[in-house]
Amino acid sequence: MSETYDQPKVEPYEASAKRTKSLTKGQITRARVTGIVMLAMAAIVVVVFLPNVEGEATFGLSMPYESIQLDPLVVPVQPALWFLALVLGFLGGSQFVRGFQRKATLILGGAFGVFVLAMMVWAAAGQEFNLESMLVATVARCTPIALGALSGILCERSGVVNIGIEGMLLGGAFTGVVMGSLLGGWVGLLAATLTGGLLALLLAVLAVNFRVDQIIIGFVINILVLGLTSFLTSQVLVKNPEWNDAPIFPAVPIPVLSNIPIIGPMFFNQTIIVYAMFVLVGTVTYALFRTRWGLRTRSVGENPKAADSLGVSVSKVRYLAVIYGGMVGGFAGAWFTLGTVGRFDEGLTGGRGFIGLAAMIFGAWNPIGAFGAALIFGFSESLSEKFALLDVPIPTEFLGMAPYLVTIVVVAGLVGRARPPAADGQPYEKE
């Protein structure tokens, strides 16, 4: 029996006021560094972007099929870039000199946004850049990431770390396409969901009953699924191409709403997998914070001993949460095949499961927050895709790295702040 525990700290209320007055050395250094980062971005805009562009950038705001066509936004490149560089310089300068303190992270995020805007203006100079199609792609691409994050949230809120999301996505994508080719899209969707659930069952058995290190189980799931699907692809799907040719779920426009300019095509003219993601984000949020199941799940993730002492079965709660999480992960996998191309290729999930994990952390283990994070990652993906099409003089490989770079920056910058469930990753053992 362990004798050690962290005693809850008594935080006197009146003390908070005096504590924020002066900056610590660490805070000053941090303020300087973020200031320099922003100034560097301003410098890039001036030195790299400005010299070799001129004319106007045209941003399309409507999809060709829309009934209401908005006029494209035409931006004169040079003044726009100067303006954005000035904004960056001002933000960086004031951050360097006095620091925005609590708002610094927000300001830094804003500065990144401004920089991305400058990049878009630069890339689109003298060309036509359809902003709307990029935004539509953002929502579509955020879907597997948001669902992956949701899968992680369900598991981790109950205290089981799931880094096998990538494997669940891949497994779902594979069975989804095979069953979809043979028996139709809906069966494929169901098969994908069940595949995720089965992989999660493996995670649950090993993590809950056998208390195997959860990071290792997750990795095993990822490697196992990658190997298995690659093998089956080369041995089975290549010889039977008809097994790798599933129907794709079409975009289903929602009457009236889909006609709204800009947000209509983004949110109301997507496939049912995207809609299901919206519904799941809402449902899981409600279930976690408003239902009996949610309260018990969260309590097991925070303090399993307390839950156990009140007659809540820790194992049962964890099994259920992990299996639900796995099913969401498998379902997310179907997006890659049934939601886009209708065929499976080796490793086609490309690390989206890990990005989902990052979105989960960025979103502080909250479904809505994770969805927001997934949108940022989706944006970064669709932007790099767009840049490749626009023939931007940056190697496509680098553009492809963008989402992962964003992941690193986001996780490094925010991981320290977000607080995971207290019992996350810890096997529960009755004494």
Partner: protein, 501 residues
């Protein structure tokens, strides 16, 4: 309801934790269950709360034999546990903690939050346990968290309330409030079992006392006639002297001097602020305070484990503020850390290895990067003998030692160096009375050798037994300083609770 345990026996691999334990708790009365760590109190309570199934014996409530398969059964039978380490979810609100497991619902599984809040308010009104149902538990002081625990068991209809070391984390004022709550519960006919090792509290509050030793019932005592000495000797099985014999101190030169020390956390909030203190040779300075008021940070500021933001730490006139922990160790600081399992030792290392954790890198224990195992063993043999570490087997792992002997091992390592400054944080937390007695003697012996000693303890009794001078910490500051001979526990208790000096 009357609770009776008959012949409860529980065997763990290698340990007979409970051996034929029988006791009775009466309705409307307080039964104090006392015993040292390892005497079997916790096992007994886990049997009672349904976490463990006994190997033999039975539990009777009002004469009816009960069978507890899991904690749910015990709760249904009317037993409510208030654990020493609160079973609360810090990031949940009060009502969420209270209703967990018995949530009122409207519709399929959807919580009725209004109903839940009302349930909390009903009970807090009925028993005078004031608490805001929507407050976040982690923001509440420990005394209020305990109320939440009590409301939790009352909501589940508990008639038999078991308190495991309930006063361990409370301030003296909170203890008085807690006794008021117990009296209230008692008046309403509840059966109360009060597990403690604080003998004075047992004598003050109990109607019956049962003493456990080595898993067995060592005897019963009548609180009206028993004395702390009598109870202590029943607990230990031999005569115990609870007072520490020491002469008046004769302080010499200043050894440790802190001036204007300030420490902040990652968010810039002050953990320590304006700390000025000095410790002189040949005196024991005791730092009192409720846990979490900066004592840990104070010790880490002195030993160099955490950096300070402003101020100076001086030792024998040298500014050591920028010294690394090892440089400070070499400069002559001995440190018995507050958490022996996390900082004081490496549990999977042997006793011999643990005894050189701080000095393995230097002669005589090593040279040119190679350890001299024979020297290490010889020194270890000598130390376990000199400091009464039992069993005296230097090849045992640290984990194999009981808390008291592990602590004696750490004391042996730190006290065997002839250094001018000794810092002891919670030197006797969670260890048996015999080891406490021994460690206290060693601390006084060090003082009498002319060393400067700083003791940090949340046990006021310990501070009063050892210290020549008392400092009280509250919210990261030293709020009071008194000579031990010129103050009382009541006065110090008020400072601990935040009263300005």
């Amino acid at each position: 309801m009357e609770l009776e345990l008959r012949g409860i026996t529980k065997q763990f691999p290698g340990v007979l934790a409970n051996d034929d334990v029988s006791l009775t708790a009466r309705s409307g009365k307080v039964l104090a269950l006392i015993g040292e760590n390892g005497a079997g109190k916790s096992t007994l309570m886990n049997v009672l709360s349904g976490l463990y199934q006994p190997d033999a014996g039975e539990i009777l409530i009002d004469g009816v034999v009960q069978k507890f398969g899991d904690p749910g059964d015990a709760i249904k039978a009317g037993i409510g546990m208030v654990h020493q380490h609160f079973m609360l979810v810090p990031v949940f609100s009060v009502w969420e903690n209270v209703v967990l497991g018995v949530e009122p619902v409207k519709g399929p599984g959807i919580m009725n939050r209004k109903e839940a809040r009302n349930e909390v308010r009903d009970i807090s009104g009925k028993y005078g346990l004031a608490v805001d149902p929507d407050a976040m538990v982690e923001d509440l002081p420990v005394g209020i968290q305990q109320r939440v625990e009590i409301i939790k068991v009352l909501l589940r209809g508990a008639k038999i309330l078991v308190f495991d070391e309930p006063t361990a984390v409370l301030t003296p004022q909170e203890v008085i409030e807690f006794f008021g709550i117990v009296a209230e519960l008692k008046g309403r006919g509840a059966t109360i079992i009060f597990i403690t090792h604080k003998l004075k509290e047992a004598l003050a509050i109990a109607d019956d006392i049962t003493v456990l030793r080595g898993g067995k019932v060592a005897g019963h005592a009548d609180p009206h006639t028993a004395t702390p000495e009598l109870l202590a000797s029943m607990m230990v099985g031999r005569d115990i002297d609870l007072t520490v014999d020491k002469e008046e101190s004769t302080p010499g030169d200043t050894v440790l001097q802190l001036s204007g020390v300030r420490m902040v956390d990652d968010y810039g909030r002050a953990l320590l602020d304006h700390i000025d203190l000095s410790v002189r040779a040949g005196e024991i300075v005791g730092v009192a305070g409720i846990q979490g008021n900066g004592q840990t940070e104070l010790v880490e500021a002195i030993t160099g484990l955490l950096p300070i933001e402003a101020g100076k730490v001086e030792m024998l006139g040298n500014d050591i503020s920028r010294y690394s922990p090892r440089q400070r160790h070499a400069a002559g600081i001995a440190h018995v850390p507050e958490d022996r399992n996390h900082m004081g030792m490496v549990g999977s290392f042997t006793v011999a290895e643990n005894l050189v954790l701080d000095s393995y890198y230097a002669t005589p224990f090593s040279s040119r990067g190679l350890l001299h195992r024979d020297v290490i063993r010889e020194s270890a043999e000598h130390l376990v003998d000199a400091y009464d570490v039992r069993p005296p087997l230097i090849d045992n792992t640290g984990n194999a030692l009981s808390g008291g002997n592990a602590q004696k091992m750490i004391v042996a390592r730190e006290f065997s160096r002839d250094v001018p400054l000794v810092i002891c944080a919670q030197p006797t937390r969670g260890i048996d009375v015999g080891s406490i007695e021994y460690i206290h003697e060693q601390i006084v012996r060090k003082r009498d050798e002319g060393k400067a000693i700083l003791i940090v303890s949340t046990e006021l009794d310990e501070i009063f037994a050892l210290a020549d001078r008392i400092l009280v910490m509250y919210d990261g500051r030293i709020v009071a300083e008194r000579k031990t001979s010129e103050t009382t526990p009541t006065e110090i208790g008020l400072f601990m609770a935040g009263k300005a000096a």
